[in-house]
């Protein structure tokens, strides 16, 4: 397949209009013959096997992309690498109109596919080096991980090379890496995530706002005891604003005997987190917490934040008790802020 595709690519190397980086390719930049409908694309692709005398632009690009995707990034020959390199600059010539407006979109993103495949190849290649190092010397391997990452490829290769490590190796690497790197480092995140070490996980969750930290919070905590989870989650709620709301929701799902509902109620006064605490109380369905919320609403000294979040706790609980309490609060005019009365009335409609 690729033997066919290379000459086609060269034949197609028509200079595209030089475009400013500041704008996308517009309809006026392309020839109407370059624009295909979904039906035309389908027909063209279905007809590929029947063509003996040359391919349309769309068909050639389809074949190019197919050839690229077929390559095994673990085993690329020199020719394959050359083939991919040639295609990393390829500018698509066949377009489809954007569903929502007059913008031509490349049907096949050949350059991106080639770049990604090449990148994967370099990463695997480099990862093999690290793996050889790992097999020969644990100390040297650790040292190599600690050296500065010179490129994204090197970083990705290090990450890949870590795949076969065991818990204690991950833990050891995490402890050594954190001396020179912060908790945003993907290497630290990977080592900590796989370490099965509650204190390391806790430290990361207290010090990172990243998507990785979120993922760790959602996917890895279950491996620890309920008490350990409760400790980690409470600490995150208190010390890491960025993860606090989702930590509260997880805390709410812990069993009654390790969860402090009073503590959840106390969070209702927090102007940033109080609404999340209300949601958490709703998740617990704790009768005591809901009673405390009601008291907070009735307490003359409660401020707007407290009243609002206590009302929310009842709303989010969404059970018969909470609904009848809300009804009563409304009917007996016990919600002291008028705008809140109006919102609560809408919930009960």
């Amino acid at each position: 397949m690729k033997k066919i595709a290379i000459p086609i690519l060269l034949a197609l190397a028509v200079p595209t209009p030089s475009l400013q980086a500041e704008r996308p390719i517009l309809m006026s930049d392309i020839n109407p013959s370059q624009l295909y409908s979904k039906q035309q694309i389908e027909v063209e692709i279905n007809n590929i096997s029947q063509k003996d005398n040359g391919f349309s632009i769309l068909q050639s690009e389809y074949l190019m992309l197919k050839a690229i995707n077929k390559l095994d990034e673990q085993h690329l020959s020199k020719d394959d690498v050359e083939f991919l390199n040639q295609h990393t600059q390829y500018q698509s010539q066949s377009f489809i109109k954007h569903d929502e407006g007059p913008l031509p979109l490349a049907i096949f993103d050949i350059a991106s596919a080639a770049k990604y495949k090449l990148n994967q190849y370099y990463v695997h290649d480099k990862a093999k080096e690290y793996q050889r190092l790992l097999e020969s010397s644990w100390e040297n391997y650790k040292q190599a991980l600690k050296t500065k990452d010179l490129s994204q490829v090197q970083l990705a290769a290090k990450l890949e090379s870590m795949n076969g490590l065991n818990d204690s190796q991950y833990s050891e690497i995490a402890k050594e890496l954190i001396v020179s790197r912060n908790y945003q480092s993907p290497l630290v995140v990977k080592a900590v995530s796989n370490s099965n070490d509650a204190s390391l996980v806790k430290a990361l969750l207290l010090n990172s706002a990243s998507a990785d930290a979120n993922r760790l919070l959602a996917e890895k905590l279950y491996q620890f005891s309920n008490l350990e989870q409760a400790d980690i989650l409470q600490s995150v709620v208190v010390k890491n604003k960025a993860l606090a709301s989702s930590a509260l929701m997880q805390y709410a799902k812990l069993p009654n005997n390790v969860r402090s509902n009073d503590w959840l109620v106390s969070q209702l006064s927090d102007s940033y987190l109080g609404a999340s605490a209300a949601k958490a109380i709703g998740i617990t369905q704790s009768q005591n917490a809901l009673s405390s919320a009601k008291e907070l609403i009735l307490d003359d000294s409660s401020n707007r934040t407290q009243v609002a979040n206590a009302l929310l706790a009842l709303k989010f609980a969404n059970n018969d008790y909470a609904k009848s309490e809300l009804n009563e609060l409304l009917e007996r005019d016990l919600i002291k802020f008028k705008d809140m009365q109006q919102e609560v009335a809408k919930w009960l409609d």
Binding site: L19, Q20, A21, E22, R23, P24, I25, L26, K38, E42, I45, K66, N69, H98, D99, E100, G101, P102, L103, L105, A106, D109, A111, S112, A113, Y116, Q120, Q152, A209, S210, A211, A213, N214, R215, A218, K241, A242, L243, A244, S245, S246, M249, Q250, L273, A275, S276, A278, K279, R304, T305, A308, N309, L312, K315, F337, D339, E343, V344, K346, W347
Partner: protein, 632 residues
């Protein structure tokens, strides 16, 4: 109760289906490709159960709880159920503003509508729209832009309109079903070419169960962005019920599009001046162009301002201008053609087709696989949210309308008010009430205080700055004009950026209602104007030329209240008093200066030409003219 019944009916109707054929379920992966898997090249986002913003995409239940919590805690935000989906779920819009529907002058407020998540798979949309809601609330007491908007306008935001569809995509965050017409035996690229349902559902969910593998219903649903009345059914596939762009049986047949109309009525519709429908992806604005040249000029101007703000924030949202008179029944087409207001479809990043920038998911280092642009990585969304909020807020500020001069005060060196004028609004017109009009003296020191109807300047860290991406002249232009012996004259006062007031204090002391709604400056009354008689007074008309921080010039004649009709501004005069869309210099304040303090000439020698100069040069000129008089 209603909801319970509906669910039961739905459940039993599914159970009654004679054959529950199963379709093939495909999976997106980080790095694995196979006949049923497609690699996007980065971790796939899974909805996060968090009410506050995270580095990721929040699940619908928690977004909704967050919106409701904000509405409860803040009197400036109210929730309104505007509809119910096919599957019985509430569709909720939010109104932002004070508790009346009039601005500080008692005029009915203009309104703006932002719609989100009409297409289920476009997860960037609810996050971007929610960020806008959060910023409005966080800044509600900023004494500036946002407080002004809350006092004087009505912002309506519908964060998630296709609730059923959005939930379906979140229920199956990494799974889809194969392209129509393909089978398990088809190639992976064919199966993933037009992925449907699950994570790639676009349409709503009429007669669709929530089980992904059900073959019979997976292509059902209406494209809510083809279900509007203008250009309804113009595309052939709009009438094919299994098509991605099926337009439905009739315009506005769907509860979700009806809900959008209901949300618009909260404006109400007649007060709307801006509409944005928030989609992904491509990093462009699709800008409809009805056959209305004034509207199109304004729309293109504001779209460019929007783009410039996003460029300043690090992302170039390029306006793609539609052909005049063409459309495809999008909701943006509807608001552009029905209400003749600036209206567009925002396509949030990743970009597509920009030279030098990878397309779709490849923009984030991914494979660039087909449709991967709908799957932005978790790590990108916080930046995306932040980059778009300033541009959207700027649109509200701009479309709130141009500023006008509300009040003018001039005080002498003893702080005695010598001139006081205030515009008083009644309905659609204003009258200038001049309550103090003492004669001023050329060559004397005075203080000028002028209040505008908007916060006129942007500050960054307390310092005057351009609004992100905009470019205006920050210092005000103030002059005195008139005619005297021999012809007209114009004398500019020296102004500077520091004339803008960031300290409160009101009349002759600081800003009045909003930070930077006032300029205050000390000046020497020009005396180098020739008069033919030493008795009497000469009118010096105070002229004010200022742009707001969106670049809108003043309404040069505040007597007619600015409004919006037929696709353009009304009552918005330029310096010559002609109504249009550009505004100009307000020249309405006639200050009397005693002729005895001016330059007495016997003949009709004419006054010297205009020119600038500060207090020093005026003093010099005064001395020179004094000599001239004495020599005669």
């Amino acid at each position: 109760m209603v909801r319970l019944i509906k669910k039961t009916v739905l459940a039993s109707s599914i159970a009654l289906l004679p054959f529950a054929a199963s379709g093939e379920v495909l999976t997106y992966t980080e790095n694995t490709n196979s006949n049923t898997e497609l690699a996007v090249g980065y971790p796939l986002p899974v909805p996060v159960d968090s009410m506050t913003a995270v580095s990721g995409f929040r699940s619908y239940e928690f977004l909704k709880s967050h919106h409701q919590a904000l509405a409860l805690a803040n009197a400036e935000m109210t929730s309104v159920q505007v509809g119910t989906t096919h599957n019985g779920r509430e569709i909720i819009a939010y109104r932002f503003g004070d508790d009346n529907n009039t601005d500080l002058d008692g005029v009915t407020e203009p309104a703006f509508l932002v719609n989100g998540t009409i297409h289920a798979r476009e997860w960037q949309s609810p996050e971007v729209v929610t960020e806008l809601m959060e910023q409005i609330i966080e800044r509600k007491s900023d004494q500036g832009m946002v407080q002004y908007l809350l006092d004087n306008t009505n912002i309506v935001i519908l964060p998630v309109s296709n609730v059923d569809g959005f939930l379906q995509t979140q229920r199956y965050p990494i799974n889809v079903t194969n392209s129509p017409g393909t089978t398990a035996a088809s190639s992976a690229s064919a199966k993933f070419a037009q992925p449907r349902d699950g994570r790639m559902r676009r349409k709503n969910m009429p007669n669709v169960d929530e089980v992904l593998s059900t073959e019979a219903d997976r292509l059902n649903g209406v494209d809510l962005n083809r279900n509007s009345s203008h250009f309804f059914g113009v595309q052939p596939d709009n009438s094919v019920s299994t098509s991605l762009i099926y337009g439905g049986a009739n315009p506005f047949s769907e509860p979700e599009t009806q809900a959008l109309l209901q949300a618009a009525s909260l404006g109400p519709e007649s007060r709307l001046r801006f509409y944005q429908d928030s989609h992904s992806f491509s990093r462009v604005l699709f800008v409809p162009q009805p056959n209305n040249s004034r509207l199109n000029a304004i729309t293109q101007s504001v779209a460019t301002k929007y783009q410039n703000t996003t460029i300043n924030q690090g992302a170039n949202y390029f306006p793609v201008i539609d052909q005049v008179g063409s459309g495809i029944a999008t909701t943006a087409d509807y608001f552009a053609y029905e209400h003749l207001i600036p209206s567009w479809t925002l396509e949030i990043e990743p970009p597509q087709g920009f030279q030098g920038e990878p397309n779709g998911g490849a923009f984030y280092g991914g494979t660039g696989a087909s449709h991967s642009g709908f799957i932005a990585p978790d790590s990108a969304i916080a930046r995306i949210r932040d980059q778009l909020a300033p541009a959207q807020l700027l649109m509200f500020y701009h479309q709130a309308g141009p500023a006008y001069v509300k009040s003018v005060r001039i005080a002498d060196a003893n702080n005695q008010v010598v001139y006081a004028a205030d515009w008083q609004t009644s309905g659609n017109s204003r009258t200038l009430n001049v309550s103090t009009d003492t004669n001023l003296t050329g060559g004397q020191q005075y203080k000028l205080w002028v209040q505008f109807s908007k916060p006129m300047r942007w500050r960054s860290g307390g310092n005057l700055a351009q609004y992100p991406g905009q470019s205006i002249t920050i210092s005000p232009a103030v002059s005195f004009n008139g005619s005297a012996s021999g012809g007209s004259f114009s004398r500019s006062l020296t102004t500077s950026n520091s004339n803008w007031q960031s300290q409160s204090g009101g009349v002759l002391a600081g800003f009045e209602t909003y930070i930077d709604d006032v300029i205050m400056l000390d000046f020497t009354m020009p005396s180098n104007v020739n008069v033919s008689s030493a008795s009497g007074t000469t009118n010096f008309n105070l002229s004010l030329a200022v742009q707001d921080f969106a670049g809108l010039s003043l309404d040069a004649n505040p007597a007619t209240v600015v409004d919006w009709a037929n696709g353009a501004w009304t009552g918005y005069e330029n310096s010559n008093g002609a109504a249009g869309d550009t505004g100009g210099t307000d020249n309405s304040y006639a200050v009397k200066v005693a002729n005895s303090s001016l330059n007495l000439v016997s003949g009709g020698g004419g006054s010297s030409g205009g020119g600038g100069g500060g207090a020093m040069s005026w003093l010099l000129l005064l001395l020179l003219s004094g000599f001239a008089i004495r020599r005669k």
